[in-house]
C-alpha cells in the first residue's frame, strides 16, 4: 500500500469538506503526486476552462513514498490549469508540508469552486475544516505561517500558502511552504488566490504506517541512500554548493543565457556563483552562505540558508531581512542575475527572499525583468513608464521591480503578467524568452541542443524539470552526449521526460536521479506498495503520464505550433564560447520527437499509442 487511501475534497463555493476513498485503479496506473493528481484534474476539469474561474480545480498531491523514510520522501505537487500558459500546471515542492499531509492520513486535497471570502483549510489528522482567513489576507507567506502557528497554538503545524502576489493576480505566483520551499512555477499560487484560498495548515500525527513489506523497504532505502552518499553530485557537489554548483559550469559550456538571451556567457557569472556565496564579503568579512539544509527525509541537503550584508542598500533599514533565510539556488541566481546582467550577489539574495516572502516564481519574474531591460535599452520603455532607469546590470532596478511586482504596484503590475503578455503589449513579442508563455530557466538551447527541444515540448511550458537533459549533455549522467549535436536528442528528451514523470509521481525528489535510475526507484516502491515494479513498467507509467498531460493540453487548444522556441534561439547564433555560431536545431529534432513519441504530425498521440499506454 503506502498510499493513505483517502483524499479530501473541498468545495470552496459551498464551504464543504468531504472525505472520499482514493481511486486505487488510478493510483496503480499513475502512482501518486504529479501523475495521480493530474489524472484527477484531467478527469474532472474541462481542459478549456478559464484557469482563474471557479470551474478550475487545484490539487495538492503526495506520492506513495511521501512521508516515508526513503531519501527525499517529502515531496508534494500542486496541479491545476495554469493561468500563465493555459496548459496543465504541475509544480513540485519539498520542505516538510507534503509529509505532514500524508502523516495526517491524506494522499491528496482537491479544491473546487471559489470561496466567497478568504479562507484557509485546517487539517488536524482526521479533522479538516475551512476557516475564515480575513486576518491573513494581505499578509506575506512568512507572516501567514507565523499567524497560523500562533492562532492555532501549535508551533508544529506546517503551512502551504500564498503571499500578496497570489492575491494580486501575479500570473506566476507561487505556493510556498515552510518559508522557503515553493511549488514555484506556472502560477499555481495565482489560482489559489483567485479561489480566495490563502493557506492550508496541516498537523499530522498518525504517521505513514502501511508499508507493505517493512523489512524489504528498510533494506532497499538503506542501500539507495548509500548510493546517494557515494555519488559525487548527490554526495558532495549538491550538499556543499547546492544547485549553484552549475553557475560557472554552464557559463563555460556557453549556455548561460545572459541579458534576455542576447548572450550565452555572463562576465559576472563568478560573482554570483556558489563559490562567491562561500567567499567572505569585502564589506563585512562574512560569507553569504550560512549552511545547507535538507527537506523532509532528504539525505542530499542541497538547500541553502544565507544571510545578507546588513549594510547592503536593499536591506539597510529593513532588519526583517537580516536573519538567516532561504538562499540562492541556481535557477533563481541565474534569472535574477545573468538574465538581467546583474552581478550584485547581495541584491540577488534580497530579490530571492522577496520572492519567497510574497510567493512568486523567481525564474518567470527575473526573465520578465530581462525582457523589460531589453525594451528599456531599445527605447521602447522609458524611465517614466518603469518608474526607474532599467538598463541591463542595474541592481537598483531589480530590487525596485521585485518590490513593485509582489505588491502589485506601478509597472510591477505589468511585470506580473509575465514576459509574453508584456512584450506583446509593447509590440515586441519576439523578445519574450518563453515556450507556451512560460519563461525559460537557466540553460540556453543553442549551446545545449537537447534542452531546447525539452523546453519546446514541455507540457507546462518553458521548463528544465520536465526533462533535464543537462544531466547527460553537460554532466554525463547517465551517459555523456554532445551538447552541440542534435542527433539522438529526440530519443534522449523522451527518455528523460518519461523517467522524470515516474520519479515526480513517487513522492521523491528528482535530484536523486543524478545518482539513481528507475531501477533504483523500483525496489523502494516495491517494498512500500508490495507489488513488483520493473524498470519498463515505471517507464511506461511515466510515458502514460506524459501523454495524459499532452492530451489535456491538446484539448485546451494547444497545438504543434506551441512546441516552439523564440526566434532568437532559432536564428540569432550564439556570439561566444563553445557554441559560437550555433542556433537551436528545433526543426530538425521536433518531427523525430513526435515519431519516437508515437504522435502524428500535429503532435497528437495516435490511437495506437493511447491503446498501448492504456489511455
Amino acid at each position: 500500500m503506502s498510499w493513505a487511501g483517502k483524499i479530501l475534497r473541498v468545495d470552496l463555493s459551498k464551504g464543504t469538506v468531504t472525505s472520499e476513498p482514493l481511486n486505487m485503479d488510478w493510483a496503480h496506473a499513475y502512482l501518486g503526486s504529479r501523475g495521480l493528481g493530474s489524472k484527477y484534474l484531467v478527469e474532472e476539469v474541462d481542459a478549456k476552462v478559464d484557469p482563474l474561474s471557479p470551474g478550475n480545480k487545484i490539487i495538492w498531491a503526495t506520492g506513495p513514498l511521501t512521508g516515508t523514510m526513503a531519501s527525499t520522501g517529502g515531496r508534494y505537487t500542486v496541479i491545476t490549469k495554469s493561468p500563465l500558459t493555459g496548459a496543465i500546471a504541475c509544480s513540485n515542492s519539498g520542505g516538510y508540508w507534503g509529509a505532514e499531509l500524508k502523516m495526517a492520513g491524506w494522499d491528496m486535497v482537491i479544491f473546487e469552486g471559489k470561496s466567497p471570502k478568504p479562507v484557509y483549510l485546517y487539517v488536524n489528522d482526521d479533522v479538516a475544516e475551512l476557516r475564515d482567513a480575513t486576518h491573513l489576507w494581505g499578509q506575506s507567506v512568512w507572516q501567514t505561517e507565523e499567524l497560523l502557528k500562533k492562532g492555532l497554538q501549535d508551533p508544529l503545524v506546517r503551512v502551504s500558502s500564498i503571499g500578496k502576489a497570489g492575491e494580486n493576480g501575479v500570473l506566476f505566483a507561487a505556493v510556498v511552504n515552510d518559508l522557503h520551499r515553493a511549488a514555484g512555477r506556472s502560477g499555481v499560487g495565482t489560482v489559489m488566490g483567485a479561489k480566495n484560498l490563502k493557506a492550508i495548515a496541516v498537523r499530522g500525527t498518525k504517521g505513514v504506517g502501511n508499508i507493505r513489506d517493512p523489512k524489504a523497504f528498510m533494506k532497499a532505502i538503506a542501500e539507495k541512500k548509500q548510493i546517494l552518499k557515494d555519488n559525487a553530485v548527490t554526495g558532495q557537489g549538491l550538499p556543499a554548493y547546492g544547485t549553484q554548483v552549475l553557475m560557472n559550469v554552464i557559463n563555460e559550456v556557453g549556455a548561460l543565457p545572459t541579458r534576455n538571451h542576447q548572450d550565452v556567457q555572463f562576465e559576472g557569472a563568478k560573482d554570483i556563483s556558489a563559490e562567491a556565496m562561500a567567499t567572505p564579503r569585502k564589506t563585512d568579512g562574512k560569507k553569504q552562505l550560512v549552511t545547507n539544509q535538507a527537506c523532509f527525509g532528504c539525505t542530499i541537503a542541497c538547500g541553502r540558508i544565507s544571510k545578507m550584508d546588513e549594510g547592503h542598500f536593499t536591506v539597510a533599514n529593513k532588519p526583517q531581512y537580516w536573519g538567516a533565510s532561504g538562499g540562492l539556488e541556481y535557477e533563481a541566481a541565474w534569472a535574477l542575475g545573468a538574465a538581467n546582467g546583474v552581478n550584485d550577489l547581495e541584491c540577488l539574495q534580497y530579490a530571492t527572499m522577496v520572492c519567497n516572502e510574497e510567493g512568486i516564481d523567481p525564474i518567470s519574474f527575473g526573465a520578465t525583468v530581462g525582457a523589460v531591460m531589453e525594451l528599456y535599452e531599445k527605447g521602447v520603455l522609458t524611465k517614466e513608464q518603469i518608474g526607474i532607469e532599467a538598463p541591463f546590470g542595474s541592481a537598483k532596478a531589480l530590487a525596485f521591480l521585485v518590490d513593485e511586482t509582489v505588491h502589485g504596484r506601478g509597472f510591477g503590475k505589468e511585470i506580473g503578467q509575465g514576459s509574453k503578455r508584456l512584450t506583446a503589449k509593447y509590440g515586441h513579442p519576439e523578445l519574450s524568452m518563453t515556450s507556451k508563455g512560460q519563461e525559460f530557466p537557466a540553460y540556453d538551447g543553442r549551446g545545449i541542443q537537447g534542452i531546447g527541444l525539452a523546453y519546446a515540448t514541455s507540457n507546462r511550458g518553458g521548463c528544465h524539470l520536465r526533462g533535464y537533459t543537462i544531466a547527460s549533455e553537460v554532466l554525463g549522467i547517465p551517459v555523456k552526449t554532445d551538447p552541440l549535436a542534435h542527433e539522438g536528442k529526440p530519443e534522449l528528451v523522451k527518455a528523460f521526460q518519461d523517467a522524470t514523470a515516474a520519479f515526480d509521481s513517487s513522492g521523491l525528489c528528482i535530484f536523486t536521479t543524478f545518482a539513481w535510475g528507475l531501477a533504483d526507484l523500483a525496489p523502494q516502491l516495491q517494498g512500500a506498495i508490495g507489488e513488483q515494479y520493473t524498470t519498463e513498467e515505471l517507464e511506461k507509467i511515466g510515458e502514460r503520464i506524459w501523454n495524459m498531460e499532452r492530451e489535456f493540453n491538446n484539448r485546451a487548444g494547444l497545438t504543434s505550433k506551441d512546441d516552439s522556441l523564440p526566434k532568437r534561439l532559432l536564428t540569432e547564433p550564439a556570439k561566444t564560447g563553445p557554441a559560437k555560431g550555433r542556433v537551436n536545431e528545433l526543426a530538425k529534432m521536433l518531427p523525430k520527437y513526435y515519431e519516437v513519441r508515437g504522435w502524428d504530425k500535429e503532435g497528437r498521440p495516435t490511437a495506437e499509442t493511447k491503446k498501448r499506454l492504456g489511455l
Binding site: 508544529l156 504517521g207 504506517g209 528498510m218 539544509q293 535538507a294 527525509g297 539525505t299 536573519g323
Partner: protein
C-alpha cells in the same frame, strides 16, 4: 563500556531521518509526531538542533515517579519506562528539567528515549553524523582530535 548519544548540531541538516527512525523503531510507523528525538529549526540563525534525553545519572524523572515505572537498564544506562507500571500521572514530565519525557495521549503512558536497547535507530539513520552513539567516557574525543590536529599538524615555528 556504556555508550551515549552524542549530538553535533553543526552537522544537522534538518532532514528528520532520526525522527522517522525513532517512530519506526517504537511504533512501526513513520510519524515524526511520535518521535522521542526532536529536531528544532531556528530560522533566524539557520541552525537545526536535534534534542533528546541525555540519560541523567540521577534522573529527575526516575526519582519523581511514584510507582517506580522508570528503571535503569544496567547494560545501557538508559532510564526506561515500563508501560505496564506507568499510570500516566505525568509527574516525571514536570520533574524533567529538559522536557525530554512526554505524555502520549493514545497510550495513556509517558515515553522517553530508551536508547533502543543499545542500538539507537536515530544514530544509525542520521546521514551526516550529527547524531552518533559513542563511548560515554569520551564524548570529548572528537573535539580533542580536532584541536590536536590543529596544533600538532601546523608547521613548526622553529
Amino acid at each position: 563500556m556504556q555508550k551515549v548519544l552524542h549530538i553535533n548540531a553543526d552537522k544537522c541538516t534538518g532532514c528528520l531521518q532520526c525522527e522517522m527512525a525513532c517512530s519506526f523503531e517504537n511504533y512501526g510507523i513513520f510519524a515524526t509526531a511520535k518521535s522521542r528525538i526532536k529536531v528544532f529549526d531556528f530560522h533566524h540563525t539557520g541552525k537545526k538542533v536535534p534534542y533528546t534525553c541525555t540519560q541523567c545519572d540521577e534522573a529527575w524523572c526516575l526519582h519523581a515517579c511514584p510507582v517506580e515505572a522508570i528503571t535503569v537498564d544496567k547494560a545501557t544506562g538508559a532510564k526506561v519506562v515500563s508501560d505496564s507500571t506507568c499510570v500516566g500521572c505525568k509527574v516525571c514530565t514536570i520533574a524533567c528539567p529538559f522536557g525530554t519525557i512526554n505524555y502520549v495521549q493514545e497510550t495513556g503512558k509517558v515515553q522517553k528515549c530508551d536508547l533502543c536497547g543499545g542500538d539507537p535507530a536515530c544514530a544509525t539513520a542520521c546521514p551526516t553524523g550529527a547524531i552518533t552513539f559513542i563511548d560515554a567516557n569520551w564524548t570529548g574525543l572528537g573535539k580533542m582530535e580536532q584541536w590536536a590536529n590543529k596544533l600538532g599538524n601546523q608547521p613548526s615555528a622553529a
